[in-house]
Subunit: 230 residues, 2 copies
């Protein structure tokens, strides 16, 4: 689809300024309507703006969030701006059974943190975090507004994090998330569920549900071919 | 969020049958309204169904699509059912400039394929594929209805595929995609852009834009911690 190719060009910085409808028609060898549909999609995604006389311009680029390397948001975007967090909730809770099982909790208590995360002045992610209490309770004493949970977990545990298993889904923004993220209700969001383990004990310590604005962030990854097998 | 935890339990097969509202209220320690909101989200996502008298039941589980291993859909889902493809378009085209650059095309011609992909009787993915002509033209002679493009590329090139770079986004379904995928227009879809290289030549040969139904498929990946660096 035309919108997909253009979206990628914007993302890569190959398209940085004005888009010319006639040039696009020639390049893609499609009808004017097809180009207009594509530009409407990108306008809806807030990557371009169209105005009479001024024409069509690129106004935003998405940021890359690597799926291969396990990094907090502040680490990931340190070249792009300042990440700060508004902490909505940070407290000890009785964890739901499913959370208790995944974090292998003994007495079903977990630290629960809800943060709205900004890159400079723009909300980009709404994160829900469950932490094992032996690390989570000390973590509550730290500056959660200006630090990634990953960095704090490594400070408190005295060792590095190891690996994380992740699931990526596309979900409609519910009204609560939409209001916080300053987008329309129903807008497509990336939902990343991530279970992170300590390296030296290989136990799970951090279960997160991260809703990212897909108009601002895209996930990058690399895959290798393996023999398909039987 | 309650819906996220339940979604994951359904996905893992921990919740397979009836959901009891009162048990959920106790487990999550939240209000009845919060549980009802969560169940409404999962109903909307077609993972559960709610009916008077019958109560609330799990009706679907998402399928895992691994982002780490580079596999075609037929390979990925071979344990879950039969993948077949309806080929909408398969022809040589003048590639748009951005595609030509990414596939390093010499004369800007590429093979363009549009396929609607079914798992058993359900459409799960709408794929747009651009192939380099030296592999793509011979590929057009093969059975595209019943084979992954990856498998055919390896047959034709006589060697294995190597690696792929991928970008994952969440996008609203446009009317065309929605109609093909049998979902509502505006529903959140996973959009996977994937550029695949041949192993022995490490040249890019296959650029794909894959729209997957997020109510049926989720992407899985693993990340490792690296030293954050300066």
């Amino acid at each position: 689809m035309v919108a997909d190719v253009l979206r990628r060009q914007i993302h890569d910085g190959d398209l940085t300024d004005a888009l010319d409808e006639r040039a696009l028609i020639a390049d893609f060898n499609v009808s004017r309507n097809t180009i207009r549909d594509a530009l409407a999609i990108l306008t809806e995604e807030r990557l371009i703006e169209r105005a009479p006389r001024v024409g069509t311009h690129v106004v935003a680029r998405k940021l890359d969030h690597g799926l291969d390397a396990l990094q907090g948001l502040k680490e990931t975007f340190r070249m792009h701006g300042e990440v700060r967090n508004t902490v909505k909730i940070a407290t000890l809770v009785d964890a739901p059974r499913a959370v208790a099982r995944r974090l292998q909790l003994v007495d079903a208590q977990a630290v629960y943190i809800e943060r709205l995360r900004y890159l400079d002045d723009e909300p980009i992610s709404l994160d829900i975090t469950y932490l094992v209490p032996d690390l989570g309770i000390p973590l509550l004493e730290h500056d959660l507004e200006n630090n990634d949970v990953f960095t704090l977990l490594e400070q408190i545990s005295g060792g590095p994090l190891g690996h994380a298993t992740m699931t990526v889904e596309a979900v409609d923004a519910d009204p609560h998330s939409a209001a916080h993220l300053e987008i329309g209700s129903g807008t497509s969001l990336l939902l990343l569920e991530r279970l992170t383990h300590l390296a030296h004990e290989s136990r799970p310590v951090d279960l997160e549900y991260i809703r990212m604005r897909s108009d601002r962030v895209c996930l990058r990854s690399t895959a290798r071919r393996e023999v398909a097998g039987s």
